[in-house]
């Protein structure tokens, strides 16, 4: 049984933070209970929840948030510092997209994210990210779970472990991906050695019917009084069964039926976009990504801790060929919804406590990809040496650029930021110390950041 006691034994969150949540049982014992109950972290965090736009496949930083005019200068010429990536690349390949300065900060953003860029003064761009290898699978694992190869809990699972979730009628960690799963499938939101309740709940957001959106939420007789009567009988029998027994788990399970009953209704409500005014629906757009983003906002405002929005099944942003057309289409899917979300969070007063993260598993080469026969493909190969992500809201210092890649955008050069650093920073914003958020498994105290990671103070407000 995963009681608060066993959580305490395995965690270094410490008694203090849990006791602060007022969770001690009346008898002084640590009663068995739902491990998802909301609790405070190590210190008060600015962010209460996270939304992560995951541009799976790897968006090109030199075509979005990291302008490299030198590429135009050297267009068509080989670059001296061309690094080894998955495939062969050739000459410098200038961005086909226009960059403009936005906001008071004057940060340059490409036309692909012109709508998002309207909010640039609320955004901190990190231009010096780096990962470990130029392959999707390990890089997805690193970005989501902090380890390229081994089965480790994802960021969302760690967040639930550390903080629980604020709404017991909804899953605390939701991963939406329209049309199927990204590569590596549910490993991306796994709980690994953490309890299964902390893993992400996958939702295929291409659907509009509730029953297809969430597993086990729909019941043919919900509308009638049947289920209520069933539950009343169940409660009576369970209470009688409980009388002579010394097992707190029985209470927890009795309680869970009432929670589940409410969840059916609350979840239906959260996913029902017809409850949104027409103007808001228009703001996000009546597209898969518009709806997915709007659902995300409804989940966040209902207290869901972590929402991850994937672009689509497989690896849509993996544009080895014809990046101009492909990146333009992909960005058009999400630029509007992202800008809408930022505006909407602000007008609802949710922005300050919602951490928004944008990025992929790596970036792309500033050099053009070559076919086996050496022909330029007008696309870019994977690049883990340097890439960009940005964050906004939730304690982030807006209008900031942190770090830089080299002249051409191949490699993080100034203030390099590892994925562990990014995770440490995100946990910090949530009020969790990445060195103290540990879980005992296989004789070791595991951390999301393993033995690495440092908080990037420069992007914290």
């Amino acid at each position: 049984m995963l009681t608060r006691r066993s959580l305490l034994q395995r965690s270094s969150l410490g008694l203090g933070s849990l006791a602060l949540g007022g969770l001690l049982g009346e008898d002084g014992l640590l009663a068995s209970e739902n491990p998802l109950l909301s609790r405070g972290g190590h210190f008060p965090g600015k962010a209460k929840r996270v939304i992560h736009f995951f541009l799976n496949g790897g968006p090109s930083h030199v075509d979005t948030f990291d302008p490299k005019p030198a590429l135009a200068k050297y267009a068509g010429k080989p670059l001296a510092n061309t690094l080894t990536t998955e495939r062969k690349t050739g000459a410098a390949f200038p961005s086909p997209f226009r960059f403009d300065r936005y906001g008071q900060s004057g940060i340059e953003v490409s036309e692909l994210f012109a709508k998002t860029a309207q909010h640039i003064d609320d955004i901190a761009v990190i231009r010096s990210m780096h990962a470990q290898v130029p392959n999707h699978e390990p890089s997805l694992m690193l970005m989501n779970c902090g380890d390229s190869v081994q089965a480790r809990p994802s960021f969302g699972a760690w967040a639930l472990y550390g903080l629980g979730t604020e709404n017991q009628n909804l899953p605390g960690f939701v991963a939406m991906c329209p049309g199927g799963m990204p590569i590596k499938d549910s490993e991306n939101w796994q709980s690994a050695f953490l309890p299964g309740a902390f893993q992400g709940t996958y939702i295929d957001s291409k659907h509009e019917e509730l029953g297809k959106l969430i597993e086990n939420i729909d019941h043919p007789q919900i509308a009638s009084g049947d289920q209520r009567r069933q539950l009343d009988l169940l409660a009576r029998w369970n209470a009688r069964h409980r009388e002579a027994r010394l097992d707190e788990r029985l209470d927890a399970r009795i309680h869970s039926y009432e929670l589940a009953f409410r969840m059916q209704h609350e979840a239906s409500d959260a996913f029902d976009l017809s409850k949104e005014p027409a103007a808001i629906r228009a703001l996000y757009g009546d597209t898969v990504h518009g709806r997915q983003t709007l659902i995300a906002r409804r989940l966040l405002e209902r207290g869901v801790r972590y929402v991850q929005l994937w672009h689509g099944a497989g690896q849509p942003w993996d544009n080895h060929n014809d990046i101009e057309k492909n990146h333009r289409n992909l960005a058009a899917d999400i630029d509007g919804p992202i800008a809408a979300l930022l505006a909407d969070l602000k007008q609802r007063g949710l922005f300050e406590e919602t951490l928004v993260l944008w990025g992929g598993e790596f970036g792309r080469t500033p050099t053009v990809e070559l076919s086996g026969a050496g022909k330029p493909q007008m696309g870019r190969d994977h690049n883990h040496y340097g890439f960009s992500v940005w964050m906004a809201g939730g304690g982030i210092k807006g209008g900031t650029v942190h770090g830089a890649t080299d002249e051409f955008g191949f490699k993080a050069e100034k203030d390099p930021v590892s994925v562990h650093d990014l995770h440490a920073t995100m946990l910090h914003l949530l009020g969790l110390d990445h060195e103290r958020l540990t879980y005992r498994y296989a004789g070791r105290d595991f951390r999301l950041t393993d033995v690495h990671g440092k908080v990037i103070r420069e992007v914290v407000a």
């Binding site: 049984m1 995963l2 008694l15 739902n34 080894t84 062969k88 290898v133 130029p134 392959n135 699978e137 190869v149 081994q150 089965a151 329209p178 049309g179 499938d185 549910s186 490993e187 690994a192 050695f193 309890p195 299964g196 309740a197 709940t201 996958y202 291409k206 509009e208 019917e209 597993e215 086990n216 939420i217 019941h219 043919p220 007789q221 009638s224 049947d226 009567r229 069933q230 009988l233 169940l234 009576r236 029998w237 369970n238 069964h241 409980r242 027994r245 010394l246 097992d247 788990r249 399970r253 009795i254 869970s256 039926y257 929670l259 059916q264 689509g312 086996g372 296989a442 004789g443 070791r444």
Partner: protein
């Protein structure tokens, strides 16, 4: 965090430090300190109260400060948990007692040493209880069953008493679940408890249930997890391993033999046909994209934690922080597994023709492999200068795990690294051939001319008769020498020998693929997959094992610093963990050493093996182990609650021939196991026990058990009498309709797609060795019981099973017996029938009259005739959709499906989804509809609106867009049909669509009949199939009850 509050600080000035002044340390005192005190200080205290961190200003690494605390009286209060100090400072009673004894002895402390040095910690760790030989303790008096003797003695010490025996029904249910994972077959009982235990142990379902416990340890999965598209994802042998475990447990194979076969069935003497299957234990792990070090790490982990309860994996990057396991030990085992390669072995049985075909497929692979290996080696030999030059820029050649796409013309990092290793080894042994190479590498460019080398191989010496002008010339000269090796045996060995860095090393593709270009890898995987897929798809008589076999030349392991394969450290011999071997133990000498490792693990003198399995069995029967962490017996683990009992059981178990069944019998016939879970009858005694030992570590009562996923699924099947008890075989679909009626053990486990339901119910993560499942309670579990199709199906089946009873009360009785193995009370019957009556009274929504004008089928659009051809009604309605059968896609009709709001076309154009409206009378209608196709993948869909009389009324071709299809006004005859048809267009991929359709009669209607209106969504059949009847609702309530899910 050893807190010294203001109160204790004051006391420090009051008490006199006389009694505890330092006296000469006696040998007994020293021994006591070294065995009882120092290990505890080293592992429990000094990390917070030592030189690195002195929490609360206190240090416990030397005698004087401890004396101070003892004098204040605070020390004992803190370790006894009688102060406000943090929980981490409180010691287990046994340890606290030792400290009290030590204080009584005058705190003997040899010399001036502190307990913080690393050597101290290692030494202390070596004295850790679990590394000491198992000793047979003397039996406390007063109980027939030794277990009861130990448990009673410990309870008595704490002033607690055991609970009375549980009632017979609870006992039977407990016994049946703990041994077979199933509810008891009948409610009868016999006075001879031991006979009932034996009977249950003899049931084949025992082996199935306990196999699942072992499969948790063995991180069982039917698939490899994520693999690149080139590799087959199903393991061909996993289920064969699972069946081997079931059979081994059922025949009570001695546990030492059980382990030996799983580690080294390829080598142990006297193995029986089919025993090779046992080695699945090592080979069913995750594939880790073929990265060798990860696969080996997974095997080291499953062996060390699974069989020895040791967390050896920690030593991959550095010496274990807490346990005496240096990195050298990890790499000693790494060498054992690196010297063993996968080998697929056909097992006896199966169709001869199949195996003939198999042999041909293997021969083709081998021939191709030989050819491609030779070509690869020739390419390296053809580019020696390039591979030697690459040694000067190694950073351009990343390690395994950094995947690149390679042409045949590329230099392959794997060969660059093979040369690197070869050259380094040659340097270490001062090899005559590479003497010049290393001499020049060691110097600076301007010193080249002055390097003097003697004793080089004559051909090399000749090549270096004149000094080279730079290192490029060194490379060129070596390349020239190695290009023309002629018949010189020494030189030839370098370019053509079995250890040559030009040759692809021995081993299966998964270990060698990096030595090939991408095209060759794909070709080889295709052949390899052909072999695996044929086995996966073969009838169940065809069985194969994936074993390990020793390499002809075992590898000599090196420590990888920080676990980084590019960062080589010292060489280490392949050998047993130092903490388990005597100082004099020689390195392994037979092949990989795997057989020697297996023997050492299965040796009766191994201090861990028997303790670990005895504790695992105990933990399954009692819900908690004597050691609370069944796979970690290291210094960080809590010590056993009953150390003498653990040792007694381990000794007895080995003496009794490592028989698991005997161990079960001993435990299950004990009064300790048979006591009630509800505590002593006497309320005061119960309250005292709850207060003194709330976690029930001392076992003053039985721990209740919540059924795990497999148990409740099987119980739900058994409740309707439908559980299929067939033993063994290929995996089945357990959580997708149609739900297999086999035991949950046989449900297919795909580690890449572990169903949410399994994770929700704390199923063992098949990627990680799981010593103990969590038992969480979250509302999503309740949602499963309320709404999951499996539970609804079970509720229907259970209700149906009781239909034959004449009276309603009898039907309730039958339901209770089938699910809870007891009769209901009168009030329960009354309550149950009240629910049934109330549910019967509810008005079911009636279908609108317009519903009958629709039908749902498939067909095709006949371009020539402009009509719908071959319309056929879809045979199956699942409550929300019409489709080909219970499973979707259907084996025959494929993906075609129609729902209230849309659907999915079938796999080709002749299986278009057709929603058909039939005119009930002659009238004029208007049609409005909106069709949406969303996915960007695929080529989209085609849609047609077709009248049976006039033909095509409208059409559209859609790809990630929406359109309105309308008909303003059209006269239809009675019986005329309008079809709304969607097909896949060119390709089957993401063709699902949404189509809202409204048909409206124009005008005033027909005389007294008002005008009609149809809506596809509103008129779609209500969910009558999934809606539960009154009795089904009752059955579901029982299946949801805590009484069903918990075992007392």
């Amino acid at each position: 965090m050893f807190s010294a509050g203001p109160r204790t600080l004051c006391l420090a000035f009051v008490l006199m430090p006389i009694a505890l002044s330092r006296a000469a340390v006696t040998p007994e005192g020293e021994a006591f300190f070294e065995t009882e005190i120092r290990p505890v200080l080293a592992t429990r205290c000094v990390s917070c109260h030592g030189p690195e961190k002195a929490e609360g200003g206190l240090r416990l690494d030397a005698r004087d400060p401890i004396v101070g605390l003892v004098e204040q009286g605070g020390f004992v209060r803190v370790i006894r948990g009688q102060s406000t100090a943090p929980a981490a400072c409180v010691l287990e009673p046994r340890l606290a007692e030792s400290f009290e004894q030590w204080i009584a002895l005058g705190l003997p402390w040899p010399g001036r040493a502190t307990v913080t040095s690393a050597e101290d910690r290692a030494a202390a760790a070596k004295r850790h209880w679990a590394f000491q030989p198992v000793r047979e303790p003397s039996l406390p008096p007063g109980a027939a069953n030794p277990i009861d003797a130990f448990i009673r003695a410990r309870l008595a010490e704490s002033g607690l008493e055991p609970s009375p025996e549980a009632d017979p029904r609870a006992l039977l249910r407990r016994l049946s679940y703990t041994l077979t994972g199933l509810p008891p077959g009948s409610v009868t009982t016999s006075p001879d408890w031991a006979a009932i235990v034996d009977q249950t142990l003899a049931s084949p379902q025992y082996g199935e249930h306990w196999a699942r416990h072992w499969l948790d340890v063995a991180r069982y999965s039917d698939t490899k997890g994520y693999v690149y598209a080139r590799e087959e994802k199903n393991w061909p042998h996993a289920w064969v391993y699972r069946d081997w475990v079931v059979a081994a447990l059922n025949e009570d194979l001695p546990y030492d033999r059980f382990l030996m076969l799983q580690l080294a069935a390829d080598q142990v003497e006297g193995k029986r046909p089919g025993d090779e299957a046992a080695m699945g234990f090592l080979t069913i792990g995750r594939r880790f994209l073929g990265v060798k070090h990860e696969i080996i790490d997974d095997r080291i982990d499953v062996v060390s934690r699974g069989m020895l309860g040791l967390t050896v994996g920690c030593a991959r990057c550095h010496d274990h922080k807490y346990d005496p396991i240096p990195a050298a030990d990890y790499y000693a085992l790494h060498g054992v597994f690196d010297s063993s390669v996968e080998k697929l072995v056909p097992l006896p049985g199966g169709d001869e023709t199949f195996w003939k075909g198999h042999a041909e497929r293997v021969a083709t692979l081998d021939a191709t492999l030989t050819k491609l290996r030779n070509e690869a080696a020739d390419r390296v030999r053809g580019r020696l200068a390039d591979y030697l030059a690459a040694q000067t820029e190694l950073d351009k050649y990343p390690a395994d795990g950094f995947d690149q796409i390679f042409q045949k013309t590329d230099l392959l990092p794997a060969f660059v690294h093979a040369w690197r290793d070869y050259l380094r080894d040659a340097g270490e042994r001062n090899d005559p051939v590479f003497r010049h190479w290393h001499a020049y590498r060691a110097t600076t460019p301007d010193q080249y001319m002055k390097v003097a080398v003697s004793g080089a191989h004559p051909r090399v010496a000749a090549a270096f008769a004149t000094p080279p002008k730079d290192f490029a010339e060194v490379i060129a000269r070596y390349a020239a020498v190695l290009k023309e090796v002629g018949e010189d045996p020494v030189l030839r060995a370098i370019t053509h020998g079995p250890d040559s860095p030009c040759e692809v090393p021995e081993g299966p593709l998964v270990n060698t693929e990096t030595f090939f270009d991408t095209e060759s890898i794909n070709a080889l995987w295709k052949l390899e997959n052909g072999i695996a897929q044929a086995i996966v798809g073969a009838p169940p008589g065809v069985r194969a094992a994936l074993t390990l076999a020793d390499r002809q030349r075992p590898t000599e392991p090196r420590i990888l610093l920080r676990g980084n394969p590019l960062n080589l450290g010292e060489r280490v011999p392949r050998r047993l963990l130092g903490v388990l071997s005597g100082e004099e133990d020689a390195p392994f000498s037979v092949g990989s050493g795997r057989l020697e490792l297996a023997k050492a693990i299965a040796d009766p003198s191994n201090p861990l093996t028997a303790r670990v399995i005895v504790n695992r069995v105990w933990a399954q029967h009692f819900g908690a182990g004597l050691v609370a962490t069944p796979s970690d017996f290291g210094t960080r683990a809590d010590p056993p609650s009953h150390p003498e009992l653990l040792d007694w059981l381990a000794t007895w178990f080995v003496k009794e021939g490592w028989s698991l069944k005997k161990l079960h019998r001993l435990i299950l016939t004990s009064e300790t196991w048979r006591q009630s879970s509800q505590g002593p009858d006497d309320a005061a005694a119960r309250a005292k026990a709850v207060a003194a030992d709330p976690g029930n570590r001392l076992l003053w009562r039985m721990n209740p058990h919540r059924l795990g996923y497999e148990e409740f699924r099987d119980a739900m099947m058994a409740a309707s009498g439908e559980l299929d008890l067939t033993l063994g075989g290929k995996p089945v679909e357990a959580l997708k309709p149609p739900f297999a009626k086999r035991r949950a053990l046989y449900g297919r486990i795909d580690r890449q797609f572990v169903p949410g339901v399994l994770r929700l119910f704390d199923f063992a993560n098949p990627d990680l060795h799981i010593p103990k499942r969590n038992e969480t309670t979250v509302p999503q579990q309740a949602l499963f019981f309320l709404n999951h199709p499996l539970v609804l199906e079970r509720a229907r089946a259970v209700a149906k099973a009781g239909e034959s009873h004449a009276t309603d009360p009898d039907r309730v009785r039958a339901l209770f017996r089938a699910t809870l193995q007891r009769d209901p009370s009168d009030s329960e019957i009354g309550e149950a029938l009240a629910l049934v009556d109330a549910a019967k009274d509810v008005d079911r929504p009636e279908a609108p009259p317009t519903a009958s004008d629709w039908s749902y089928g498939f067909g095709s659009f006949d371009e020539a005739a402009q009509r719908v051809a071959g319309f056929t009604v879809l045979p199956h309605f699942n409550g929300t959709a019409w489709q080909g059968g219970e499973a979707w896609p259907d084996a025959k009709l494929g993906w075609v499906q129609i729902t209230a709001i849309g659907g999915h076309p079938g796999n080709d154009r002749s299986h278009a989804a057709v929603r058909r409206w039939t005119a009930p009378r002659a009238m004029t209608i208007a049609i409005q509809s909106k069709l949406v196709h969303e996915p960007a993948a695929s080529d989209g869909i085609r849609a047609f609106v077709v009248s049976s009389q006039v033909g095509l009324l409208g059409s559209a071709k859609l790809h990630a867009q929406s359109t309105d299809l309308k008909v303003e006004a059209i006269a239809v005859a009675a019986g005329e049909t309008i079809d709304f048809l969607v097909d896949i267009d060119e390709g089957l991929n993401s063709d699902q669509f949404l189509w809202s359709i409204a048909v409206r009669e124009l005008g005033e209607g027909d005389g007294e009949k008002p005008s009609l209106a149809w809506e596809a969504k509103r008129d779609f059949p209500a969910d009558t199939t999934t809606a539960l009847t009154a009795w089904e609702q009752l059955a579901q309530a029982v299946l949801c009850s805590n009484e069903f899910l918990f075992v007392d």
